[in-house]
Assembly symmetry: C2
């Protein structure tokens, strides 16, 4: 059995009308209240922001991507520099993923967000995935074309060197279009990879990290149940819901629901890569404890501000309607951007392509997700999620 | 006579071996010690940094460019939003230039730094300057090709709407290659433009701004003397050294020296657009009180860190030698970047193109210029500039 004595997850309030729950997740780098949001520092940095700005915006939890870090600067270098926390300056709880999602989503040449930066000189996308076998996956580095290999053991080894508090088993992320039969075979292999991940994790276990298993099974209820039971019956610390979540938001919530009766009820549950405002409400009602998504900072770089009670959950600061708007991005927000700058100023910065505009919108979007999660937690303990959702979401 | 009662410049220490001097420059937005550095917020923002980060790095003084702001978002909009200070959130002393430098340098299709952002869809540079007459200069907007016109009166009107503490007269910035005869004629016109700038300034004078005259005359000693005397004999608050400063650093220092015996001895002297570490030492010895230059933040975005006592005044953080370097950018620096992050981490960020790398280097370079100016001031009061320069500069 792994030594999880430095970690804990305590549930201390439940919503009577749903699976929503409030908890405390404790790690060697501090505790955080759940439900909560994990901000994406893909390459060991939140794009455009400093750690001080993340702290000031109220963030509790950060992740980095194994795939990107194994290619550049390399896990050995990060280890040599004292591990990810010391390297990037974030001394709070951290998570790394297994590297699988990027290998598979980028490897299929899909339009996955992660692919964005990876183009050839001619602007084309290349399929970088070379081969998936029982042993693992071989793929080419987007940096220099070097042949790389990721197995469950190698992923755990890399994540151990990176040193985040929470790490993930390797799984195969199937493409959206694959059929039931492929999904079933792939899921079975991911379970075998989960067992190998656990074995490798236990071999090097020093008590400073905790491992999450991943529920696969695509959009198929029986496969989701089987995969949920698989993770429940293994000594993972937490459960992550992964794989193809369907073609629409509604289907995604259905898929999440399929899992929730069958996963381990007392472990923290993470929903991989999902985190719009609406997703948070639906996810929390289904019992999700943590979310992660690049969108708060990514949409900021494209000129969007998350806001409470606006159609589509966000405002387009490029819109000429903000040209003479002396008000803050969101008058309900107390972040640095909202207390010091007008929509007019940020509209100007975005329009002329000033980095500072992206920075201010990123600060605001991080602070907005932080505030949303705080209000969700308060409401689970004391009120109605429906009412809170009505305030935040407008059709 | 303009009302400069809200402004003052007091000289309280002099270097016995040079023209170097320490003073206090007071404005309606606070006082600052001189010699000092004006950081460039070209489009009403320091690229990538927030005002809070500029304050934390110790900056005292900021400028914005009339040329860029008149095109986008427009001086009327800035005025409507409460003026530049309120718009961009910087409540300390500010300066705007006249707009002339960009019109002329970009208009000639030169490789002036300012031109960088202005390319056609095909990547070519276009000459935007259409015509210079006694009345003023007509040019095309780099944004939409609209025909624009700048006269001394219009420049003062725009700068009044922007509302910076210090504003500049319009002058013609001659190209580097023009001959003595063109330079002489142009200088004479700039003087007439200076008189018109003063007249327009006095017409709208409300006591909240102070006007600088500009010394022209290219590399010709007699013209520089004539232009210095011109500014001295007019009721400008300060003196700016502008125009072509020659082909080399040595010639630049010679040109500055030509002016210094003939300008007004008790007014603050600004050296336009110059501000490397070496330039600061040479400029200060010649009696320069303030410098401005985009380079601290521009070179940061290209991966360079200013540092004390290193060849070329800076380190190239892209260099593989920093890959495993756990030390700070500059161990003599106490800025946020140097006290929290390693060269190894910043090397990684720059190598993968993370905005945060540019941000950390920008913070460091601003803090380094702040520290350099503070040490220069201390040394003028108490020691030898030569010794200080030896510490900062290595051949």
């Amino acid at each position: 059995m792994p030594d999880y004595s430095r970690f804990s997850f305590d549930i201390h309030a439940r919503d009577p009308g749903s699976r929503a729950r409030c908890g405390t997740l404790s790690t060697p780098h501090g505790s955080l209240p759940t439900p909560n949001f994990i901000f994406c520092g893909t390459k060991a940095a939140i794009k455009g922001l400093t750690i001080a700005q993340m702290r000031e915006a109220g963030a509790h939890f950060m992740l980095s991507n194994t795939y990107h870090l194994m290619i550049q600067p390399g896990a050995e270098l990060v280890e040599k520099m004292g591990g990810l926390h010391k390297f990037c300056g974030w001394d709070g709880p951290m998570l790394t993923d297994s590297g699988g999602f990027q290998i598979f989503s980028m490897g299929h040449g899909s339009v996955a967000d992660e692919i964005k930066g990876r183009r050839t000189a001619s602007g084309e996308r290349q399929k970088s995935l070379m081969k998936i076998t029982e042993e693992g996956a071989s793929f080419r580095s987007y940096l220099d074309g070097a042949k790389l290999f990721l197995s469950p053991e190698r992923s755990i080894d890399i994540q151990r060197r990176l040193g985040a508090d929470f790490i993930l088993q390797l799984d195969e992320c199937t493409a959206f279009h694959v059929d039931r039969s492929y999904t079933a075979r792939s899921m079975a292999m991911s379970h075998r990879w989960g067992d190998r991940s656990l074995a490798e994790f236990e071999r090097g276990d020093d008590g400073w990290q905790a491992l999450y298993g991943i529920v696969q099974g695509g959009v198929y209820p029986d496969l989701r149940v089987e995969s949920s039971s698989y993770t429940r019956d293994r000594p993972f610390f937490g459960t992550a819901i992964g794989g193809s979540l369907g073609a629409s938001k509604d289907q995604m919530y259905e898929v999440v629901e399929m899992c929730m009766s069958h996963i381990h009820p007392n472990r923290p549950v993470h929903l991989l890569g999902i985190g719009g405002i609406g997703d948070v409400f639906s996810g929390v009602r289904n019992g999700i404890d943590t979310f992660d998504c690049v969108s708060p900072t990514r949409i900021a770089r494209h000129g969007w501000a998350l806001a409470e009670g606006v159609p589509g959950e966000r405002l387009n600061l490029r819109n000429a309607r903000y040209r003479e708007d002396a008000g803050p991005l969101d008058e309900k927000c107390g972040c640095y951007a909202c207390t010091h700058f007008s929509r007019s100023y940020i509209h100007h910065l975005i329009k002329v392509g000033e980095m500072t505009g992206m920075v201010l919108l990123s600060i605001h979007n991080v602070a907005t997700m932080v505030r949303l999660m705080a209000e969700v937690r308060q409401t689970i303990s004391a009120g109605s999620l429906d009412e809170l959702e009505k305030r935040w979401r407008t059709e």
